[in-house]
């Protein structure tokens, strides 16, 4: 029995396998957000309806306003309609929706773990590439397109060809202020944005074991930025403690039975992976990206790289193009690059621990006069918890805007965008050209590092700021 965790979950959900290798998998949990109206149109056009509504959970996030909780107050008619459609579709088919303003609402990848819907050993899908997030609890979770969403709605199954597996081992002790975000940016910098293509990534090693659940969610969230089909971390006591007592977690005898199943999930010691990568966790510094792919990440004490140092002509040309777009000059120390805006939020970094980490930096300090800084909690639950702890007051006193939960500036589908040329220190997951608005310049980093950038007005090693050196 030298199976990987992925293999165990795959086998368990296999309905049938065709001779050509295509496998029909049964989906335990299907999450929906307000960007998925097309799939319902598709279903309706064919006279179909959801096969297992009890396995579907929905929440609006991409199109909600972060300044109001009232659907009527969403200004753009198209955006409002997306939120309304999710509401109508879920009502019509008896699907549980965590609606706007209610405790459970939030970014779909914050909502799932928070509600206890994301559980070890399950197969979870959602029409969104960052579905890899949920693998942090030891689930097989991946993003699908809208035709596949319609397929899952109609049949509760999905055709897949078995992906390969990659084990990413990070051992060693992480330094102070080095978070799940820095670890995943370091991993992607090493394997490249296509490094995990066709693979399910399993993260392991002492540095990963030492991460909190929030840290693991951040890590798995960005698996897709390394090309990974999914990302996973074996469930352990950290996982079980996180899940226990959540609204949809098993209770009583069912909990004991679940624990027994979950403890059998981790990959066998002699399990063989198709690819192996390892990193020294103790060598990872707080990271900041400089280019237009998450692979373009540097330690905070780095300098903007010089295209002439590129290994080949293609990379040289690509680097030069990115420097122009990003308005950066080769050789500049990252710590001398000034920012215009700061965004703390997104399904990567908007959980309570992220709020606490950013607030710890903001406390007693002031946002630089030239910077506009936002904090957007990932869910209503995170927002309420943060407010109970007084974090919103810390942020406001420092000059941050404290907003309503949603995807917000991560991709700006709700209208929260940066202006052309504005430089954004962002805790989200993609620094693509135009991701945060046409011409916007995105740099990815951790919540504490984003807060530090807000305070000093430039990228700053948060450790130095906290030590009074910056």
């Amino acid at each position: 029995m030298s199976e990987t965790m992925f293999e165990k979950i795959w086998q368990k959900h296999r309905v049938l396998e065709r001779e050509d290798g295509q496998t029909l998998l049964y989906v335990d949990t299907h999450l929906l957000h307000d960007g998925g109206a097309t799939a319902f149109d598709f279903l309706r056009n064919r006279g179909l309806k959801p096969r297992a509504p009890e396995r579907i959970f929905a929440t609006p996030d991409h199109y909600v306003s972060t300044s109001s909780r009232k659907v009527e107050e969403i200004e753009d008619e198209r955006h409002r309609e997306m939120v309304e459609k999710l509401d109508r579709n879920t009502r019509e088919y008896g699907i549980k929706q965590f609606g706007l303003g209610t405790e459970g609402q939030g970014i779909v990848h914050v909502m799932g773990p928070e509600q206890g819907l994301s559980q070890p050993g399950i197969l979870l899908v959602c029409g969104d590439s960052h579905t890899s997030t949920h693998g942090a609890v030891g689930a097989l979770a991946f993003g699908i397109g809208s035709t596949e969403v319609a397929h899952v709605l109609a049949t509760q199954t999905l055709w897949q060809r078995k992906p390969k597996t990659m084990r990413i081992r990070v051992d060693g002790r992480l330094s102070d202020q080095v978070t799940g975000k820095d670890v995943i940016l370091a991993i992607i910098a090493k394997i490249g944005a296509a490094g995990g293509t066709g693979h399910v990534l399993e993260y392991t090693g002492s540095a990963i074991r030492g991460l909190s659940m929030e840290g693991r969610l951040t890590l798995c969230n960005m698996s897709i930025e390394g090309g990974g089909r999914a990302g996973m971390v074996a469930p352990d006591d950290t996982t079980f403690q996180y899940i226990a007592g959540r609204p949809y977690a098993p209770k009583g005898a069912a909990w004991d039975a679940a624990l027994e199943r979950w403890r059998a999930l981790p990959s066998a010691d002699d399990a063989v992976f198709d690819a192996e990568v390892s990193l020294d966790g103790s060598a990872i510094s707080p990271m900041v990206t400089w280019g237009n792919s998450p692979e373009d990440a540097l330690p905070i004490d780095g300098r903007i790289p010089d295209p002439s140092s590129a290994a080949d002509a293609e990379r040289r040309e690509q680097m030069a193009r990115m420097l122009v777009y990003m308005g950066l000059e080769a050789g500049t120390p990252l710590s001398e690059v000034a920012v215009d805006r700061v965004f703390i939020g997104s399904c990567t970094n908007s959980r309570i621990e992220d709020m606490r980490a950013a607030a710890a930096v903001a406390k007693g300090r002031k946002v630089a006069g030239s910077v506009r800084a936002w904090v957007v909690p990932g869910s209503e639950g995170v927002k309420r918890q943060a407010e109970a702890e007084g974090l919103h007051e810390v942020f406001r006193a420092a000059g941050f805007e404290w907003r309503e939960p949603g995807c917000s500036m991560c991709l700006g589908t709700n209208g929260d965008i940066a202006q052309p040329g504005e430089r954004v220190a962002s805790t989200s997951n993609r620094n693509f050209m135009g991701r945060q608005g046409p011409g916007a310049r995105t740099h990815l980093l951790s919540p504490a590092m984003a807060a530090a950038a807000a305070i000093t007005g430039r990228f700053t090693d948060v450790r130095r700021l906290l030590a009074g050196e910056a």
Partner: protein
């Protein structure tokens, strides 16, 4: 879904790695339903200059490539967001084939389910094809799905791999839901065996 068998068409070069789906269709167009023609959203920002005018140098804006139906791109084409509208925008603009050394996994799946064939060829082959179509704007490429071959402008023939199941669906223009429903017995049996496990 529209079936695909063979194609002989102009191929446009996009010789960059990591062209993400945010570039293929910017996020602000994602609220448009499928019925809307997505042609004008294709590379909406990338093909324009900062002042909003069309960039005459962007390949898709060049006269020779206006009627292209095949795109040839650098590695990791269409990585990033799962937005199926990236496929719709390409499809509505006339594209039926994308050739690259590698693709974002989700885009590849989305393409096969929407009549857009993703063809993976070795990096050196793609580089060579790119050089040919850049040197001779308007040059044509032949793609044969039943034979699983691409014929470059210089006449060289390159075999490609394709999932047999997806190939079958694409050749016949089948959508998978109908096919899956023919396995109803197996699904129902699985559900009986699986019971209410993991139902919340």
């Amino acid at each position: 879904m529209e079936a695909f068998r063979t194609m002989d068409a102009v191929a446009v070069p996009l010789p960059r790695p990591n062209i993400d789906t945010d570039q293929i269709i910017p996020a602000r167009f994602l609220s448009r339903p499928r019925e809307v023609d997505h042609t004008e959203f294709l590379f909406h920002d990338a093909r324009r200059l900062p002042d909003g005018e069309q960039n005459p140098d962007f390949a898709l804006n060049r006269e020779a490539w206006r009627n292209a139906r095949i795109v040839v791109a650098g590695k990791n084409f269409a990585c990033g967001s799962s937005r199926e509208s990236a496929v719709w925008a390409l499809f509505d603009a006339g594209f039926r084939v994308a050739i690259a050394p590698s693709f974002g996994d989700i885009f590849r799946n989305n393409g096969m389910k929407n009549g857009l064939l993703p063809v993976m060829l070795p990096a050196d082959v793609v580089e060579n094809i790119l050089a040919q179509i850049e040197a001779d704007p308007g040059a044509r490429i032949q793609v044969d799905l039943p034979a699983q071959t691409v014929t470059a402008p210089d006449g060289s023939v390159h075999a490609f791999e394709v999932d047999p199941f997806a190939k079958h669906c694409l050749l016949e223009g089948l959508d998978e839901i109908g096919l899956t429903q023919s396995y109803e017995e197996e699904i129902a049996a699985f559900e009986r065996r699986f019971g209410r496990e993991n139902v919340r």
